[in-house]
Amino acid sequence: MDTTAPRGLATKDIVYIALFAALTAALGLMPPIHFAGAALPPISAQSLGVMLAGAVLGSKRGGLALLLFIALVAVGLPLLSGGRGGFGVLIGTSGGFLLAWPLCAYIIGYLMEKDTAASPVKTGLYVAFGGIIVMYAAGIPWMAFIGKLGLSKSLTIMVAYIPGDLVKVVLATIIARGLRRAYPNL
């Protein structure tokens, strides 16, 4: 980050925050990818936006980008995949995952800032930690709580999503590293 101005965010930071909030929304427009037939649920590309925001923008801007996205969903814009939006989705069964997105992006960004010369594998591990482990750690207890399911039952439901999330981790790592190479002082 070249913009450590004492007073808050520079214009460039605001534009980047808006860009990655919009990117997360635009990824929701893509039709969900079906793979492995009906054995696994279709994966939405949307959490790729979370991983990219953290890995490209860093902790503060990445977290704010997703906070902006969640705020836009809350006010009723149909920005989640499948054209969903509004408070209802945020307090529904998958609300924990969605509300954790700003934190996930922040944590990925934080890890990347701590280790600026991370190897591709390490970058992937950081993205996976924030984008899978942190997200599930928030989303699964929420689902268990709101549906009065046990933790282990909720966990079983979510296992089906892990392969799709791993694909997204690989994509996010490749794209983030490519962008960092193209724009070293993003």
Binding site: G8, T11, K12, I17, F87, G88, I91, T93, G147, K148
Partner: protein, 198 residues
């Protein structure tokens, strides 16, 4: 931009967003604290009665819970199997009631009104360093960027089709991301050169 608003002139449409949101949060909390099935059934019926009052159809009400139908069935079956029919009905009904209640606010409030209320509310956060003008700028930019990003994706995909690469995710995503960042840099230069002081 299209939102989920359903136009109308009912009392719920005319109510300002802030009290409506507060009432919704209060109702949702009560629904959550309550542990009895009969109360949940009554609450669901009351919420459903609010739909015609808000000039909404029951079809619209059903459309709110339809995306979650599979999850509802899954929850219901698991709960029924492990904890009995009553708990299964309570859990699924409470979830449906929560979503119907929250959707009532979304359906009767324009997103633009909600954004206005939100940014006005942000001035109370000024002491902790939140700048409402910057938040407004970020919101308008984000809304404008969504169709632009979709357009960039289309263009890159067409360009890669010529090379036979339109099915390669990286060959589309990488140039798209770089073009998006370049656009963002140009826009922030344009904003600054017009004297926007951040």
């Amino acid at each position: 931009m299209l939102d989920l608003y359903s136009p109308g002139s009912s009392i719920l449409h005319r109510l300002p967003p802030a009290p409506k949101m507060l009432a919704m949060m209060f109702g949702a909390t009560l629904l959550f604290i309550n542990q009895s099935l009969p109360v949940t059934i009554v609450a669901t019926l009351v919420i459903l009665v609010l739909y015609p009052i808000a000039q909404l159809t029951l079809k619209q009400a059903f459309a709110q819970v339809r995306p979650l139908l599979i999850i509802f069935v899954l929850f219901f079956v698991v709960q029924w199997y492990f904890s009995g029919l009553e708990l299964a009905a309570y859990v699924v009904l409470r979830l449906a009631a929560l979503i119907l209640l929250a959707s009532l606010v979304t359906l009767t409030t324009r997103s633009s009104d909600m954004i206005d209320t939100m940014t006005r509310g942000l001035r109370y956060l000024k002491p902790i360093g939140v700048n409402p003008e910057k938040v407004s700028l970020a919101i308008s930019l984000a809304l404008r960027f969504i169709p632009v990003l979709a357009q960039i994706t289309r263009e890159v995909r067409e360009a890669q089709k010529v090379r036979g690469l339109e099915r390669s995710v990286i060959a589309v995503a990488m140039p798209m991301a770089i073009r998006a960042i370049k656009m963002a840099d140009d826009i922030s230069d344009a904003i600054d050169s017009r004297g926007y002081r951040s």
